[in-house]
Symmetry: C2
Subunit: 279 residues, 2 copies
């Protein structure tokens, strides 16, 4: 195929979107399309202009022999507000009320495209936090954690309650679940997180934060640091939180099982006006 500019723009856009947070040498594109580097530079400035105008992401250029271009996904604040407002509305359906103050959320977590969109919000928020790995708790945190890892281009470590033979040697800790004050165990395969990693913890639901607190302790056991904590939904008006610094996409502010009434609002990620893709 003889690539003219239009063809290159389509193919390069696809390539950038599939390789976030990865430095790509200009020569890679120049060789792929048998084009001069100056033409490729012009292509990239067109893509960059659209990506930044539509808040799809930023494209930064590093000069020099080892240089190249890097695509970093961001999200548009208005689109994000609309997405989260629609999600809040969906979550307020009283049919979601389950015993014990829980909310049925599997339809939300079970939608891979919505999950990708939600994951991109955290990836945008923490895009400058030098995240090395995402950590989550099995089972329900996994979809969102993978979406975040996908847009940050980092691996995901899955913490579990049970031990499995298929994981090799594991590191276990005991922790106190915040809501029920029960002692529980969580474990992570030794091989699944490199020491000295900067870890972004992602989970689907936070009540008192006991599980998140446990994951923070587990990160320390791997001689690693916390890059941040993100949850899909936090329940407010609960007992005191065991975790201080976290961001949520939505807040469950009221759940009355008797009156069958739920109120869900935008989460704390909206508190900071510069949380999103603003340049």
């Amino acid at each position: 195929m003889n690539y003219r500019r239009s063809g290159r723009l389509v193919d390069m856009t696809n390539y950038f979107l599939n390789h976030p947070h990865k430095q790509i040498p200009l020569s890679y594109f120049a060789e792929s399309y048998d084009s001069a580097k100056s033409s490729i530079s012009e292509d990239i400035s067109i893509i960059k202009e659209v990506f930044e105008y539509k808040q799809i992401g930023t494209i930064t250029t590093t000069a020099g022999a080892t240089g190249g271009v890097t695509f970093v996904p961001t999200v548009d604040r208005k689109d994000t507000e609309k997405l989260i407002d629609e999600l809040c509305y969906r979550l307020e359906d009283p049919d979601r009320i389950l015993p014990g103050g829980y909310l049925y959320m599997m339809d939300v977590i079970g939608d891979p495209i919505l999950t990708q969109q939600l994951g991109k919000i955290f990836a945008s928020k923490f895009r400058k936090s030098k995240v090395d790995a995402v950590m989550t708790m099995a089972t329900k945190g996994i979809p969102l954690a993978y979406a975040v890892g996908n847009h940050l281009n980092v691996p995901v470590s899955i913490v579990r309650h049970e031990h499995r033979i298929t994981e090799g040697s594991i590191v276990s800790i005991n922790y106190v679940s915040g809501s029920q004050k029960r002692i529980q165990t969580m474990s992570l395969a030794r091989r699944s997180l490199k020491p000295n990693s900067n870890v972004l913890i992602i989970d689907d639901f936070m009540k008192a934060g006991g599980t998140l607190r446990g994951m923070m302790d587990l990160v320390k056991e791997f001689h690693s640091t916390i890059a941040g904590i993100g949850v899909l939904t936090e329940a407010v008006n609960e007992e005191e939180k065991l975790v201080n610094e976290y961001v949520s996409l939505t807040k469950l502010t009221e759940m009355d099982s008797k009156q069958r009434k739920i109120k869900v609002e935008r989460g704390s990620i909206f508190d900071n006006p510069f949380s999103f893709g603003e340049l």
Copy 2:
């Protein structure tokens, strides 16, 4: 922003990639860019040409008032062979040998970008199978299942061994695990799969196929049908398989714990020359 052709191509490419298997009216693009439908049609034929040449996917046009354009992701056969051959090589590392004939694979499953690429292979293979939902078993099947669901734009149902209070009413079945001949239980939330769905079952590892057999029975309990079965790795030379029709990406043909030797080959998906994105 005043969109010229180059800008529209970048933005439309991004839009298509984020909305697979979804019919988009031409008027959506025409209004977004304040452009004539004839210009949009020309843009789409440029994108279509590149997508088909690079085996990124197909773009089909449906005429009429309710018509529009639909992007369906495919994969390139050569790229896929290269990806799977590299994966086979990685999996042959003897350090992966775990007790009981298992292979440590969390580093593979834990890589979200690789998982997306692997999921796209199944999404391409089953793109004409009218899949309504993807089903998988917690925990290790989840990442691959979400990647498949993402590229097919269908929801994912997560089957579990334990019951959780946060899922509401559930449907449970007993099944016999193929390798250990033990009776086990698996369950799925009643709400997480609509009746009369055509279900694609995805899992990470298959020995005798007992878990897959159980999921097939569970699909029937939901008055639904099987669209297909896909596994990341199948162990061959095991006892007789409990499942007949499935496709695998890789085959574990030899694992000698004493000699510390593993052999992994391309899976059955490569048996059929038209499995991939061939047009």
